[in-house]
Symmetry: C2
Subunit: 393 residues, 2 copies
């Protein structure tokens, strides 16, 4: 077999992740590989943990990147806390809430689902009811930003309800971390996981995770071994802790990349970073509406880093996205589940979240939609976005 | 928090993995990230699969890299094949065989252990007995090269016995793949997994895996869902197959790196590569014996890419390895389990397997041992290795 060297095209990544990667992160990922027990690498692990604690907003000791993508973080969170027969309240208003419920059941625990329509938040009252109806709920699990719909779920009230009922509060911050406040300790989150390729703008491959002291206690008091050996925090914590007992070979180069991407997040400062996401999303949404698209997520609860908009009637989903990719080198996401073929998901995450991205995307979309016959006044999207930028709101 | 840019030292990696990474692989890992459903990335996935098939020596369609390190490959192999209540025969002659048995039990299956002393192979007769004694054995699992001892297990006889008893034959090729013949189809292996950071000389983070048609049939005929959602091949195969259904976001940059490292393996040609590993191991072992070390693995079954040698009396394990690291920038591995503190594990894997590595390691070790008072004639190790190189055997 004869294959040439790798030569991937340079896309503008505005899908649901991965997002653009800063040149500094590419520089870090190519640094010499160290052994996973090399003292120089152990120091890098400690630094990475400190940076993760800063970005999560937590002092949790058990904070580390799981050696897998965001979904492995979801599985790690659930499989460490739950034992067969345990009860979990799982909020489901999109694909990722559904995935949590699936994982809970696979490991022999019971999921009380709190279903809400895709595109809307899960009302805290419904969570309260589910917690009341569930015998000894061990955990209440919710997705902060549903990547399948772009809804941003308020967390504090649900955190309070979970704790009142004696449950741990588990949050999927895959899409939100680095782009909107998560503030693990202040919010009262007991288990929180994320992914590297969204608002942290690192290549995909790791799942940052953090466990509160109450969560660690629950793990320590398990009656059974954690079902997954690979994700077993009772073992992994001995490698990331002072014992340094080998568990599995750490993904060295990816940890280099994560460390650098977190350094960039911390340098920007969280407040400025969240404001940047808010501003560009506001401009993008104004532009999308100006070219005739309707926003999909519930008003007042729209996530800035993932903007869902319905595809205008008569426009082909796959063909329009393919033209955007081929003619403009821009990737946006298609709809998932209930919204497959009906909506687009436009990401503005981390390094991808800029005025240049917004303008380039609106330019491309407007041009394609007009060529499909939609009566859009020339430059309508760009003008609307520009107006937003000039008003700064 | 103020942390500087990453600046890891350049080590000669001669531990049990990671091994040295070729500059071409670093170039590939830094290429622009693509979306996991980008047509250009789907092509890269297909190419990576073809390369994996070539290196595994298989035509198995279900061949792909698991999105985690080698141990996730082990878990993926077992959790997809086994269901609660199933019986597995697991050969245990070191740490990694023990890990397999642990995983089997965690998922509610039964492991019939075939224990053999650490440092020795598992005799096929003992496997035959275990297969006979086990009701409906679904799988017989064995480690090809035990990374904890450096033993290379012959596979063909065990493959035959497994198939005779109706079991699938599962092989851990984490340390062997790319450095010794695995030949999945010819050997009769049904499930085989490896890791990227050993003889493939790619950074750690992925676990190549392959399933035969019989293994795929077993997965398709499961009565229960695969317990691990993240490792569920019934879902992952739909992303790697023609359906391209999203499961989890692929670790794009690591797949770039793997593709390039496999390209290098294929360019060298397997036969030449195995011979290279054999030759340098022979030279290293001659040198080690000449400076007074005793080889640890059973004679006739020594793996070329992982050489275990007992530490001479009176020499401190940790302090000697630390001096080798600090004064010579060379990493070798300590002993595991039964051999902790008693033996060293010296890797010669992929890019790390060269005459330069052998000589530099013998130079450093001899120098340290002599300074610890061992009566080694100057240059004894280097001379012995050189003699081997000149004889070519």
């Amino acid at each position: 077999m004869k294959l040439g060297a790798l030569n991937p095209p340079q896309r503008l990544l505005m899908g649901p992740g991965p997002s653009a990667v800063h040149p500094r992160v590419f520089e870090a990922i190519g640094k010499p590989v160290l052994g996973h027990l090399d003292p120089a690498f152990l120091e890098i692990m400690d630094e990475t943990r400190s940076l993760l604690q800063a970005v999560f907003g937590t002092e949790n000791k058990l904070t580390l990147p799981v050696s897998g993508t965001g979904s492995s973080g979801m599985e790690a969170a659930l499989v460490n806390i739950l034992e067969p027969g345990d009860h979990a309240v799982v909020c489901v208003n999109g694909a990722f809430g559904g995935r949590m419920a699936d994982i809970v059941e696979r490991y022999g625990a019971h999921a009380t689902r709190v279903d809400s329509p895709w595109g809307e938040i899960v009302p805290p009252e419904k969570v309260a009811d589910a917690l009341n109806e569930t015998p000894n709920p061990k955990v209440a699990a919710i997705v902060h930003v549903e990547t399948s719909t772009g809804v941003l779920q308020p967390l504090r009230e649900v955190a309070r309800l979970a704790h009142e009922s004696g449950a741990l509060f588990l949050v999927d911050a895959v899409t939100s971390l680095g782009g909107a406040p998560v503030d693990v300790d202040e919010t009262g989150i007991d288990v929180c996981y994320s992914a590297t390729q969204k608002c942290l703008s690192c290549p995909p491959g790791l799942a940052p995770i953090t466990f509160s002291e109450r969560a660690v206690e629950a793990i320590e008091n398990r009656r059974s071994k954690v079902a997954s050996w690979y994700l077993d925090m009772t073992l992994i914590s001995k490698y990331w802790g002072s014992e340094r007992i080998y568990h599995h070979t750490a993904p060295i180069s990816m940890i280099y990349a994560l460390r650098e991407s977190l350094r960039i997040v911390v340098e920007e400062r969280p407040g400025a970073r969240y404001e940047r996401h808010r501003l560009h999303s506001a401009a993008l949404c104004a532009g999308l509406e100006a070219i005739g698209l309707t926003l999909g997520a519930q008003e007042g609860y729209r996530a800035p880093m993932l903007n869902m908009a319905f595809i205008p009637d008569g426009v082909g989903d796959a063909s329009a996205r393919r033209r955007l990719l081929d003619e403009f080198n821009i990737e946006i996401g298609g709809g998932l589940g209930a919204f497959a073929g009906k909506a687009w998901r436009i990401g503005l995450m981390g390094e991808s979240c800029s005025r240049a991205s917004v303008m380039r995307c609106l330019d491309g979309l407007e041009s394609i939609l007009r060529s499909e016959g939609l009566p859009i006044p020339q430059g309508a999207g760009l003008s609307a976005a520009m107006e937003r930028y000039e008003s700064g709101s």
